[in-house]
Every structure is written in structure tokens, then in C-alpha cells.
């Protein structure tokens, strides 16, 4: 299952990472090297293993109580681009 350079570019878009053309070649090579190691996993018979929810670890329930946080101003102060009470982002060309 060899990874093509196009696939690397597709994955980079999904991960919102810019990769240059020179990087793509190296990354495809790296992917393929690692994937050959992964291929060995197919040797393991997992047919009996069901992906069941393990009830040993159970997520705790929080009570529905409101607590306010005193760090809002410090959080906004760290915003790379702030407009008063808002975080600001450049224009959204792509719809959600």
C-alpha cells in the first residue's frame, strides 16, 4: 500500500499543514518506510477482538454547577489578534 505524493498533499490539507514540493517527496518516502513496519500488524489475528466499551474505566459525572473563571482577561490578552472582547480572525473564504 504505497503512499503517493498526492496522498501526502491531501493529508497535509486535512492537517492544515503547508508542505513544499521538496518536502512532499521526502515525506512520501518516510511514510512508505513506516508503513512497511505497520504492514506487519496485518499478521496479527484480531478476528476475536471486539471493540467493546470497557466498563472498568468509567467517565465520572460532574454536577451541573456553574463556576466562573477569573482568567478571561489574561486569556484575551494572549490573543494574537484581539478586538476588544473578541478574538479576531481574517476573512473566512471557506464556509463551515
Amino acid at each position: 500500500m504505497a503512499v503517493t505524493e498526492d496522498e501526502v498533499k491531501h493529508v497535509a490539507r486535512l492537517a492544515r499543514l503547508e508542505v513544499g514540493d521538496d518536502e512532499v517527496v521526502a515525506l512520501a518516502g518516510h511514510f512508505n518506510l513506516i508503513l512497511t513496519h505497520f504492514e506487519r500488524l496485518q499478521e496479527v489475528d484480531t478476528s476475536g477482538v471486539v471493540d467493546v466499551v470497557d466498563a472498568v474505566d468509567v467517565t465520572p459525572w460532574r454536577n451541573d454547577e456553574v463556576a466562573s473563571w477569573d482568567g478571561r482577561e489574561r486569556a484575551l490578552a494572549q490573543a494574537p489578534d484581539r478586538d476588544e472582547d473578541y478574538f479576531r480572525v481574517p476573512q473566512i473564504l471557506e464556509e463551515a
Partner: protein, 488 residues
Amino acid sequence: MALSFQTVIGLEIHVQLATKSKLFCSCSTDYIGARPNSNVCPVCLGMPGSLPVVNGRAVELAAMVGLALGSKVQQATRFHRKNYFYADLSKGYQISQFDLPICAGGLLVFDDDEGKEVRVAITRAHLEEDAGKLVHPSVDGRLAGALHSLVDYNRGGVPLLEIVSEPDITCPPHARRYTEEIRRLVRYLGVSDGDMESGSLRVDANISQKVSDGRWGSRVEIKNMNSLRSLERALEYEVKRQRKVLAEGGEIHQETRHWDDGEGKTRSMRSKEEAHDYRYFPDPDLPPLIVTADRIEALRSLMPELPWQAERRLVDAYGLGADDAKVLAESAAAVAYLDGCVQAGAEAKRAANWVRTEVLRVLNERKISIEAFPLKPESLASILALVDRGKLSTTAAKDVFDVMVRDGSGLDTAMAAAGVVSGRVEGSRLEEIVEKVLAENADAAEAVRSGKDPKDKKIKFLQGLVMRETRGQADVAQVASLIARKLS
């Protein structure tokens, strides 16, 4: 040969759950009118190292909806991460449910506008967190043309229950009715305020056409329908559009379209550079969510009567008309109020009429919920008892009702304040009133006396004035004979 079409609609309804705090952190969910980014913390701002902890109440509210819809409330479920990038999403993923939703299956049965029964199967209902809100400070407030957008994460993390229907809906009015019924249910259960305008209930529709020549149009997703009316209009528009394209031999592509309420059209959203690949995987920060059988049973035992059950009971037990029953069964509190009146001895139909007209009128005027209504059901029942015994006319009773609501006073005080005397106005008191009316309307009285009232218009006018003075507490025949005697 003319083609015929069959409409296929499935709905995804997002309901904001009425918890005090967010789904995975303790921030307030009360974001409407709040200062931007004031209900936030490291968790809902997606700060590095912060971790989610589930709000148990949200789980319970979700399970209640499931129980009401006849879903299987699953004991072992889990949360997944839905990965995508957007400015209103603080973590680069939304915590949602995927393969194991809290509620699986279910059925909603309701009557359409013609009274015909409609059955829509529920696929699933799952918990997820809401996204933040974007503000586009462009000239027209829309996304297009804004050089920047502003992000407010106050809404980010508010619990949502996404209720997904099977594609069982066959026409836009049924889609509207289904949504009305879901809205009534979540309001009735107190699970959500169900307000579409403010976004606490949001509907996305998937709509397609099956053509009689065997073709299937692709599924189109419609978004941005902010009222029941726009839902129905958008779907009507889309039915016509899709049928026209298919009738002309064209193809419907799978896409998402935005409803523009002003234009009355759906519009294709800018096509994305690639299809979404959400890369769902189990959220490793949240171990499996276990709702024990005991907990589900405890919830089941606490479940109130459901709106459609109440509606039927009001018809069957109280003999109400279908319309009255439907209006009252919009709200659990209204039904409870009516039940209170009946328990306090009021006649059910009369009480229902009063609740529907007078009580709901006051609630609307004052913009309060029935829980905050100042008059107890027993008090209304005591007014109605006087009416039943003929001691109070309906008009007088309404005056008393208004005073009691206004002043919060007791029945006797309110009657005195309204100038209402319990029982008939007759004898010398009635005579006084008649004389006063005749004196104040001497022209009319003279016309009657001198026989210039051929069609009895003037004498009827005088009778009416007397009845008004007595707040309807006098006998009409007695009033008529008294006036006739005085003017003969």
C-alpha cells in the same frame, strides 16, 4: 408520459439542553446577551492541557428525550472526536458521539394538519458540544465581504442533543409538524426552551426526490432555517427546484444549500476544496460513559406524562375539544394548572377555557411562565365555583380574576375592589340602578315613553346599560319589565 415524484425528507434537529453549565466544563450556558467571551475557561477555550469532564445533568436530559421517543437508552456509550478546523471551534475538533449514541432508535407519532396519523422513525439521538459564535462586521453583517470575523466562545461547549430522523418524512408540512412535535416534547419535558429564533432548536433537512422512471435525485442538505415557517418554505422551494431539474433531465448533486429567508430561495454554499473527512476516533480524554440500568429506571420513574399522553387524557377524561387539548398540552405546567383547578372542584371544560384564554393571555402580556403565574389553581377554581352557582356572571368573574392577578389579593378583597357583589342584583338595588340609567339617558327614555321606538332599539340600549351597571348580575327579563314599568 408525465413523471411523478416522491419527496424523501430526513431531519436532524439540534436541541440545546437546558443545563446551567456547559457539557464539559463549569462555565455558564447563559450566553444570550452576555459579554463576549465572558462564559469561558481553559476547557471551552481549548487551551493546551485542559481536559473535559461530563455534565451528568446533560446526560440525564438526553436520556429523558430518548425515553420519551421510545429509544433504547444505551448503558455503555462513548464520546468521539470529530476533527475539523473552523474559527468557532476552539480545539480543532468537536466532542460528539459516533458509533454508540446515548439514544438508539425510536418513533415519533403525530397527526398532520388534516388529522391523519404520521409515523417517523428516529435513527438516534446523541450528545455533542455546541460551537462558538462568529460575528461578521461587514456592511450587511454577512460572511461575504467581511475582511475579518470576530469569535465569541460563550456558546462553545453548550450541550446539544442531535435528534436524527429516518428519511420517513414525505412532504414539507410533515417536516414542520415533526419539528413542532419535537419542540413540544423538549419544552414539555423541560429539556430545552426549544426556541428556534434564538437558535436553541436548529433544524437541518436532508431532502431528495425519487422519480417514477426509477431515478433517484441525490440528497441535498438544507441549512439556516430559523423558524417553522422558513423550514416549510425552504423545503417547498427545494421540492420544486429539484423536481424541475429532474423533469428537465438534469441531475441533482449532493451538496449543502443555505436557505435565504429574504430571497425565499435556497442557495448552494461555496463548494469546498475537498469533502470533509472528520477522522472520528474515540476521545481518549473521556472514558466510556456508563448510564447504569438503575439510573435509567430511576429516570423512567421520574418521567412526567408526555405531551401526547396529556393531550389524549384532556380529551378523554375532561371532554375537551381537540383544539383546546392541543393548545394546553403545549406545556406541562399548563396541564398541571388545569389539573389543579379540576382537583379544586372546577368543572373541567370551563376551567380549560379559562386557562386557555385568560391565563395564557396574562402569561403572554407579562411574558412570564405559568410557574410564575400569581393565581393558584385553587383560587381560579373558587372564582369559577361562584360562576357555576350563578352567583357571579362571567363578566364579573373576569373583573375579579384581573384584580386578583393584578393585586395578588384574595377572592373577597378582589370582589370588593372590583365593585362586584356576589349574587343577584334585584329589588330596590336594581330599581336604583334603573332609575339612574333612565335619568342619565333622558332622551332615550323619553323616546320609549312616547312610543318613538318602533324597533325596540332604544329600550334594548337602556337594558344593556343596566346590565352593564350590574356587571351582568341581574336577570334580563326582570330588567326589561322594570324599565317598561318605569316608562309606561
